[in-house]
């Protein structure tokens, strides 16, 4: 068992313990209805975090296979939420069935057998072509391009991008054992901490909206404070990575920026569809896609930067 991995997980558990205590104190202190509601939502989120951390810790400790299965399942649940909110037609049924029961398993199988060449082009090239071919066979030309583009986008976001996260375990970095899953944990901790820190800064001092037309709750103060803190956190975690402290800070900064973009893009989709959340699976958070929206933008970027530089 990797000692640094245990330290990382222990650190996350310690932060959660402190949050749980703080949440309970705030619950006693809340006086107005509005603050009670905010604190109840906060505590629901913390409870869900315990479950998410437990699942993720078990997956990490079982090594590569656990992470691959976990992220395949996350892709499945995310695509399921995405398709629910997409205006699909009856004629798309078979193409969608293929997307769930063939494309997802094959993409993660390619991670498992470490076939990087095909892994990186399967969905952007071959599924792109086959999906359009399958859809045209169904014979319905109404909104054809819109329908095929929507399904392709869902597969790129929910499957292709997410599969880069467990692919981090395959990276060949000189003098560093990627197979322990510490890079994956580094990515997930920085990206999720960035979300939480942006949310917290925004709640505490935020008042200038950064994208009022897309997400009224996101503020400049939240963005700057959250991204800065996430960058510092990334630097402080340099010891689990093959990077120097300044390089870890730089990568954490890029992870946080990509994550912010991901959250904003997914907000735009939700706004267009007239919903607040993609699902209800995670109390306080919404759906799986609401929780991993920043991860799916950050994972490919972090993977490629690490692969090309190290």
């Amino acid at each position: 068992m990797d000692r640094e991995l245990l330290w990382l997980i222990g650190g996350v558990v310690a932060v959660l313990l402190v949050s749980t205590v703080v949440g309970q104190v705030l619950k006693r202190r809340a006086r107005t209805d509005a603050s009670r509601e905010t604190v109840a939502n906060l505590n629901a989120r913390i409870t869900a975090w315990w479950a998410m951390v437990a699942v993720f810790a078990v997956a990490s400790l079982t090594g590569g296979i656990g992470s691959i299965v976990l992220f395949a399942l996350l892709s499945f649940l995310a695509l399921r939420e995405f398709v629910t909110l997409s205006p699909t037609a009856r004629a798309d049924h078979r193409a969608l069935t293929w997307s769930f029961f063939v494309v997802i398993p094959v993409q993660y199988l390619l991670v498992g057998i470490e076939w990087y060449g095909l892994f990186s082009i399967l969905i952007p090239v071959y599924v792109f072509l086959l999906l359009a071919a399958r859809l045209v066979l169904a014979g319905d030309t109404d909104r054809f391009l819109e329908r095929v583009a929507t399904i392709q986008w869902g597969l790129m976001a929910c499957v292709y991008c997410v599969s880069y996260a467990p692919a981090l375990l395959l990276l060949d970095v000189e003098g560093y054992d990627s197979g322990t899953g510490k890079l994956l944990l580094f990515l997930v901790i920085v990206v999720q901490a960035s979300d939480v820190l942006q949310y917290s800064w925004g709640k505490l001092v935020g008042h200038r909206p950064i994208a009022p037309g897309v997400s009224p709750n996101k503020t400049w103060e939240g963005f700057l404070g959250g991204v800065a803190c996430a960058t510092l956190l990334g630097a402080a975690l340099w010891w689990v990575t093959p990077f120097s402290p300044p390089a870890a800070a730089g990568l954490a900064l890029l992870i946080a920026l990509a994550g912010f973009a991901g959250g904003l893009v997914m907000s735009a989709i939700k706004r267009d569809r007239g919903v607040k959340d993609f699902g209800t699976l995670l109390p306080g958070h919404g759906g799986v896609l609401d929780r991993i929206d920043s991860l799916l933008f950050a994972a490919p970027l972090f993977f490629h930067l690490t692969r090309f530089i190290y």
Partner: protein
């Protein structure tokens, strides 16, 4: 064991939000729902607490569920379905068998539209629900609105497309003494439509 696995799989593929107007009880009940998919009853059944699940039997068409070994296995061993003949001359006998089930303490899942629709509207109810209430006046009726299953597994498809659904269990209702057939069926169908519109 197999039942729990099937329930878990149904929820993984078609699960979503579920709302209860009243807490589920063990009293013999007739859950009646709108019908658009073969997954309808599986999902409804999967949301019942396991101890109630074991005592709740879907009423299903014999011509479909008796037509292959696999279907027979699931209908008989997993769901303990009560298979009835659709549109046959023995409607009377079917109602009696359902009433008998209720009298032994089992609950039933029933689709009063009689067949699967496209999901846009709830078709007029067949009269079976009314005759069942006459034969078993003590039974509680629970309307259940099921949403989005017409997209998950529509008529004519074999494999589902996983999506998020919504299931709403409404407040119980009963047949009033002397309530005319058409009024009762309209009231029951109205209860289901009201549920479909709730947020």
């Amino acid at each position: 064991m197999i039942g729990s696995a099937v329930a878990g799989l149904a929820r993984l593929i078609a699960g979503g939000s579920v709302q209860w107007a009243e807490r589920p009880t063990a009293a013999p009940r007739v859950y009646f729902a709108n019908h658009t998919s073969h997954l309808d009853f599986v999902l409804l059944w999967s949301y019942l607490p396991p101890e109630l699940r074991a005592r709740t039997r879907p009423v299903a068409a014999r011509d479909y569920w008796d037509s292959s070994r696999l279907r027979r296995y699931f209908a008989g061993e997993v769901f303990r379905a009560l298979l009835i003949d659709r549109g046959g001359p023995d409607a009377r006998e079917s109602v009696d068998r359902m009433a008998e089930c209720l009298s032994t303490g089992d609950s039933l899942i029933l689709f009063p539209e009689g067949t699967r629709g496209t999901g846009e509207e709830v078709a007029p109810f067949k009269t079976g629900l009314f005759h069942l209430c006459r034969a078993a006046p003590a039974a509680e009726l629970v309307p259940v609105a099921i949403e989005n299953l017409n997209r998950i597994l529509p008529k004519g498809e074999f494999l589902p497309v996983p999506m998020v659904s919504r299931v709403v269990f409404g407040p119980t209702l009963r047949l009033y003494d002397g309530e005319p057939k058409d009024e009762f069926l309209a009231r029951a169908r109205g209860a289901l439509e009201t549920l479909r519109e709730t947020e």
